[in-house]
Symmetry: D2
Subunit: 363 residues, 4 copies
């Protein structure tokens, strides 16, 4: 159920309608639009009386939403969701593409800083790095944990990059929420509904990756779980699905980008690194992702991919990344979008060699 408020409805009226709904045992989700505010109603306590809602002050219309997903739907919110990061010009879902890059796992402070410096210079606004890695084998490297999060917090301070990192359970979610700017829910946890609910109760934007066998509807329903808890800043991410195809690690399904954009107001970005699993295919698919209309990219970059503790084969070199940004910026402009220029932060490069030294500061 969706309540469309009148254009001139006051904040007071909106609040009163929300309280009325909550009083009935449902959840109210005020969703401000360019023209007017809509209020989504969710809950599974049975029917709600449409007529009485229409009589509330400031209400223009009450609409029944027939799709299984409500809050993610364009029926409920027509305008694109744009996620902003206060104090920066980084956005996701707006005119500028969101470019996220970094190593699969944070391995050392030296490695993380070396990559961060180069991706910032090339135009990335987000640094992605794994602190907690969901690995197929219990005996594989599982991430540096909180130490990695601290290194990334330093990277934010040094380079002005926003930090994206994955949470895999209750405990790690608390830590990632504390240190990072955006919380990633990985493909393997896309239907871990407890985790989705919990991340829906945080107040950090969420990067939700598509599961390996998830349909479009399942992806949208996973976002609905998060939004139903009150966190409306969800970014979807296509990262390849599992098929019979054996020339790539996964099959990147770029058609989901226009499909999501038709049905939902949420931004969607693409991960060509997991989507292909092969270094030589990352850049071509990154170009394709921007050309298909994605709102951004998330790419694995490593300064020494052959020594990476995870995903080395699909990590590109910093120089490849810089060239890639140059190409996708041109493609973005054809679609009336853009990629902002990178920022070069001068640091004492000796710090990268001697990891025991204190952290370099931006000057």
């Amino acid at each position: 159920m969706l309540i469309v408020m009148k254009k001139q409805a006051s904040a007071e009226e909106i609040r009163a309608v929300c309280e009325h709904i909550e009083g009935l045992g449902f959840r109210a989700h005020p969703l401000p639009g360019a023209q007017r505010t809509a209020i989504g109603i969710t809950g599974n306590q049975g029917a709600i009386d449409q007529g009485s809602l229409e009589e509330l002050s400031g209400v223009a219309e009450v609409i029944r939403v027939s799709k299984p997903y409500k809050l993610v739907s364009r029926d409920v919110k027509e305008d694109d969701t744009v996620i902003r990061f206060p104090g920066t010009n980084a956005t996701i879902g707006g005119k500028n593409l969101a470019i996220m890059a970094g190593p699969c796992s944070i391995e050392t402070r030296e490695q993380a800083f070396a990559v961060a410096e180069q991706i910032a210079a090339a135009g990335a606004q987000f640094f992605r790095g794994g602190a907690y890695k969901p690995r197929t084998s219990p005996y594989a490297f599982q991430g540096l944990g909180e130490e990695a999060l601290k290194i990334m917090a330093e990277i934010r301070d040094t380079f002005g990059l926003r930090i994206v990192s994955e949470a895999i359970d209750h405990e790690t979610l608390e830590l990632v929420e504390r240190y990072a700017d955006m919380i990633q829910i990985g493909a393997r946890n896309m239907q871990n509904y407890s985790l989705l609910r919990e991340v829906g109760r945080t107040r950090k934007p969420v990067l939700l990756k598509r599961g390996m066998a998830a349909t479009l509807e399942e992806l949208l329903m996973a976002a609905e779980y998060i939004m139903n808890e009150g966190n409306y800043e969800v970014v979807l991410c296509e990262r390849g699905v599992r098929t019979f195809v054996d020339h790539t690690r996964n099959t990147l399904d770029l058609s989901i980008v226009p499909a999501v954009q038709r049905l939902s107001h949420l931004p969607i970005i693409v991960d060509p690194s997991h989507g292909t699993g092969k270094r030589n295919k990352v850049v071509p698919l990154a170009r394709a992702a921007v050309a298909v209309g994605a709102d951004g990219l998330i790419v694995e970059v490593h300064h020494q991919p052959d020594k990476a503790l995870s995903d080395g084969a699909q990590s590109i070199y910093p120089q490849q990344f810089a060239d890639m940004v140059g190409e996708v910026r041109q493609i973005a402009r054809i679609l009336h979008r853009d990629v902002p220029d990178g920022i070069r932060v001068e640091r004492q490069t000796v710090d990268l060699v001697d990891a025991d030294q204190p952290v370099a500061r931006a000057r």
Copy 2:
């Protein structure tokens, strides 16, 4: 790494070897076999000195395990794992097939008892019922929670059935462990490694369902996560994978049964209900599962499938279940296995109508 102890090695020697391994920062997993005990060594702290282990008292041989999975492997434990439920004759992995049945969700005490009575009479040894349901939509029925677990505990007391129920996170795991006899990890959580580790620290047998896009190796590695924490009673379950095929909800991959049995000592059962999603295909595929060599079946049974709150379309009627058990028993005997006869428990059927009355007791 695997240590094979001498046939005549004493319990004392085995304990000493385990302590030595733990002292080196690794985990020791003593695995008693028909002839002698093997001790699996896991951990990711790097290499271990093979030579010094061979010198320990009671050690026959030290073998490097090249497969990515260790504890699940037949290389480490040659004999089939048989899981026993003390105080009952229910087993999984032995000569007798394990037959699990029950409704998708526990809806009411009446419904649960009606189904339980009939499946017990037909030959099931396990009652499966959902208390916590991982549903695609946050607005769908999510299960009765602890109330459902209490109803199932009554069912155990009344009918002697062992209880299997799904845990979906830390909190529900504690409750399921308390009330149930076997903890199910669902397909959507097969790669929720935090949950796998946590269930690995319980002391109840685990039913691990294959993920919708999981390979054989990923399924075995998920079991390895559980075993690496010290819980060696893991039962695998094939429940269909996601493919292009559209005449069933999932595609039941029966070939994984002999594939698992070649590589692993763990039992594997089959779920033809989720594997097909259609009532008219459950019984034929149940027969096929037993014929291919599965160690058991888990089947959704509902006395009024058209009124079920979840999965009604794939639930079979109690009479269909009884007929099915009759057929699979005959097939099992061809393969030198068996299904024990059902137990008819007489109860005052009035109890089912008046749920406020105390639980009927078996006489």
Copy 3:
């Protein structure tokens, strides 16, 4: 459109109705049932006047068939189709399972006879052998061609086995039709509509294998192409579909067996050899196929699989085949079906050694 004739309708009336339909530019397909004859009407020349058909002598009812497939549908013919081979007791679709076996390719007369003798003794009624092999590589062994067909004709004369062999185009179809008893259309040609039409104009039964990515509807529509040309003796064959699963060569989709049996009167058999691609999985899946209700099996058997020119890894030994027949016979009986005993044909075994000698005759 379907015309149901009255029970007492005469052959003359049936013929008159067919002629009337053909006169209108459509095709008439008389389909005798246990109770009465139905006449299917196909063609794409637009609408036909239902009312005038109902007035024809002997017509009981005229029914519009809404499914895209007509002649294959149970709506058009309720009784199971049973295919008989005159002069033998071999049938497909009746009470007895049809057991087909033989080498992937006919390699030498000696090899073919060695296999044929053993499969006949074990209970097969059909000998399958490739004369024309559709191979992924143009440089791989492509089959012995007509020489192979001649060897198989001898095998029929010697052992009384019916011969099944694959045709891959116009030319090979003519030859296979001449020598064999049943014409196989392979998975790669399931949607080679020209070939389907052409085999529909032969008068030999057709074994139609499911394509690697074919849906149930596409399989039925392929059979419809054949039947629309007047050949109603079509046997469907499940042989595995292509999925992400990597522990078998294909994923055997046994659920298609009950799915076909609901919708169609045509028999369906299963090929566990291509369906798994691994010798150690053929027998378990063959048992499962019979348990699920298949009307027969087609299995690759080779007396020296390691020397086979094609598909050696999935060919079973003659002794494995004999054991398999023993097991599936018992399973068949549970389902009120059967597998007839094999026939041991005594031959001078010297013939197998000296291929220049005239063919051994059954005594």
Copy 4:
């Protein structure tokens, strides 16, 4: 096996080497490169003596090709294959992208001309139209046959567009070869090896579409079948594969474009119409295909898609096509490629209304 000739080898020497190879019972495939000619050797008659080949006059080197595909491989021919159409500036595989467009089926002369005029003006160099349609149902529209081919021949004469049309068997191949400039082999026939061999004996370029479940290697092997018969002008086409994904008709696998370009010298184009099956996704995926590096596009365009006899839902309007060409031209230039301007041919539009009149001529 591959013979690399010396740079200065004469035509006479090349011919002599080829004759020598053929004399040994193998096939010789002279493949001229930018620097020098290579001669591929194929055949399955067993080993060939490498040493004696090295002694032939003009031979620089003899190389064993270990990949299963030979003639399609970059190991055998390093330079990209560029296919030219004499008398036009249309090319496939060179700097300019090949843009192919037209209706799924030729329905009427009026329809075909209406579409052709607009796609030519927009920048297409190729007109694609179905004369023989492989349809899932025998009762669906199967194409106008030779009449369609004649209409397309007129379109070539009127608009200067090169004609691409599908052949489905021996008979239609003869007709398509006579009327069209390029012969399409459809996805359903990608492993119809008889047809591949036959089209390999024609002297028209071949457009080979990837099968719905074909791996990269199978696609390359299908091209190898064609090339082994002496036709080296093969263009590959990605058109989507079949997966569980249900928001598009097929899943367009754009990663195969860079994968093919690494392994093979053959051009590869993309069909976003079949690849998505939905009009609103064709243009975004067309942009993505060019951005990933494809050598061209093949797109279904219809002036009245809602009235189309086949594939209406995935056909775009002429104006959408024109806009699409504008966008992909800009993307192409970023990759240092281009799309030539369209040619506007003035015609008496009355001709389109009165189909009995003689064909309009370009002035």
